[in-house]
Amino acid sequence: MNPVATPFFFYFLAFMAIVSAIAVITRRNPVHAALSLIVTLLSLAGFYLMLYAPFVAAVQIVLYAGGIMVLFLFVIMLVNLEQNIREYQFNKQWIVATIASLALGGLLLFVYRTGRGSFPSAFYQSYRGLEGDNTQQIGIWLYGNYMLPFEIASLLLLVAIVGAVVMAKKRI
């Protein structure tokens, strides 16, 4: 069986991800921006599939595209946008933004140049066997080796939930 991850799919998904990511920041209409963000997230799910991690791809779709983005759109529709556009915009900090993104890009390039050994070209060839039991592997690693970080992350989320409830409710 031939590998499904042909270069065509990689370039196609990369193109989709970049174009829609640019659309996210250039669209004036927030709903259009949110929809473009969904396309970006779906292309990322495609990348996870190409890396033989179907579970991560499915979770990406369920949580990000299906859950979080629905809430985003929900909030955007509820907020009165016409009024917000007329108000003073304090997010025009493009000089700082350019410097920050250049620094991040430089960092990524530096990591890629120096740590090339960590990205073997036959990366997925060695991981292909894992595709069949990807879900089981993630479960074993998450609840075995990385038990403590996992629990800490869930505690953090719990704190966030309690905070949200306290802020939303005047009287508990």
Partner: protein, 426 residues
């Protein structure tokens, strides 16, 4: 080429696993056709059954007993004027029904109609279905927002709130069923075929496993799936008395029919999840009580028998038609339909067909039962208020689902737990 096509038939797996493009395409086309035909049947059956529940006759004019009504409706929708509101967001308005329909049909990729009768088997089958059907919500939101009108916006807001909150209860119920798959082998599975096979290996359907835990999980799912598909009594997003028609108020003609198609195929999809996870998928009932080859043989005649009963019903209708010239065409039509059903029944008696059709038959019968339940709910339950809906979702189904999940885990680990406790005591 011929070898390529024939080679799959002896592989004993799904076309996706065998990597056979030809049969995968054939299966996809078959599934799309089957789902569309099922939606047509559902359209007729729903109107007929609802009518009989309310002591009416329902559609009677187009064809004998209104049998051709869905076709007439489809034709009407196709030739209706397609209106896009002036201030609508054209692109989003155009793409919303496409998104809804595509996601509704994509979920059927992993539905196992039998061990070999699925397009493909995925390692993440249930998650795939949940994920793709959760993308359908986006289509509904897009439709409501892009219509640039108040009722659709309200409808889509309600719909998204409802779907997001019921997805959680649904997910918890599914997880407790997935936990049960890990009981004998130690490693669970999310693959739809794997889940059915583990039910076969444990000699029980998961609805009866750990009674009443399996049943409670199933009940949570069965309630959540009605809310998830926006059907009565949870049909607030399209409550006629409050919101005209909800998120698709501004849609007309073919685009509206796409929403209709998507809604019914989503119902079929969630029903197939329920059937696969709790009702043993493609397996026939009573495999333990009425086991053995003789009973296998007896059960294998049921598909043909069903068609014969349907044919007999149609034949009875043909006889009872009024004997006046105005009804001649209808009488001939119904008689032909009866003959057609009888012929299908005869084909299903052929040994080769009889063995292969078994699993599909049982799967479809179980899904049809859920479809009937949907109609039954619609005919009998009053609609919930929105705050009641949220209360049921968050305060009843979610804690129940969590409790069942924890209880299932504890019950499943009972041997190890009791051994550990005994070890401490000694």
């Amino acid at each position: 080429m011929i070898e390529y096509i024939k080679g799959y038939l002896s592989s004993g797996t799904t076309p996706g696993e065998a990597g056979n493009m030809f049969w995968a395409t054939v299966y996809i086309l078959l599934v799309i056709t089957g789902v569309s035909v099922a939606v047509l049947c559902m359209n007729w059956l729903e109107r007929k059954i609802l009518a009989h529940m309310q002591i009416r006759l329902g559609p009677m004019r187009v064809g004998p007993h209104g049998l051709l009504q869905p076709f007439a409706d489809a034709l009407k929708l196709l030739i209706k004027e397609d209106i896009i509101p002036h201030d609508a967001d054209k692109f989003v308005f155009w793409s919303a029904p496409v998104v809804v329909t595509m996601t509704a049909f994509t979920t059927f990729l992993v539905v196992p109609f039998g061990r070999t009768h699925a397009v493909t088997d995925m390692n993440i089958g249930v998650l795939f279905m949940l994920g793709v059907s959760s993308l359908g919500v986006l289509g509904i939101i897009m439709a409501g927002w892009s219509s640039n009108s108040h009722y659709p916006l309200m409808g889509s807001l309600r719909s998204s709130a409802q779907m997001v909150s019921y997805e959680i209860a649904m997910g918890l119920a599914i997880v407790s069923a997935v936990l049960m798959t890990s009981l004998q082998t130690g490693t669970g599975t999310l693959s739809m075929i794997g889940i059915v096979e583990s039910q076969a290996a444990q000699h029980t359907w998961f609805i009866f496993k750990f009674f009443p835990l399996g049943f409670i999980a199933f009940a949570v799912f069965a309630i959540a799936m009605v809310a998830e598909t926006n059907r009565a009594p949870f049909d607030l997003p399209e409550a006629e008395s409050e919101l005209v028609a909800g998120f698709h108020t501004e849609y007309s003609g073919f685009r509206w029919s796409l929403f209709f198609l998507a809604e019914y195929s989503a119902m079929l999809a969630v029903s197939s999840i329920a059937v696969t996870l709790w009702l043993g998928g493609w397996m026939r009932p009573f495999p333990n009580w009425l086991g053995g080859t003789a009973w296998d043989m007896a059960f294998s005649f049921l598909p043909a028998l069903t068609f014969f009963v349907l044919a007999a019903g149609c034949f009875l209708g043909t006889i009872r038609m009024p004997k006046i010239p105005q009804f001649r065409v209808q009488t001939i039509g119904l008689g032909t339909f009866a003959a057609l059903l009888g012929f299908v029944g005869l084909v299903l008696l052929v040994p080769g067909v009889r063995v292969r059709i078994q699993d599909i038959y049982w799967f479809v019968v179980k899904v049809a039962f859920f479809m009937y339940l949907y109609i039954w709910y619609r005919g009998t339950f009053p609609r919930y208020r929105f705050d009641q809906l949220m209360k049921v979702g968050w305060k009843v189904l979610l804690p129940t689902g969590l409790g069942v999940l924890i209880a299932t885990a504890i019950w499943g680990l009972m041997p190890q737990l009791s051994a550990a406790i005994l070890g401490v005591l000694q």
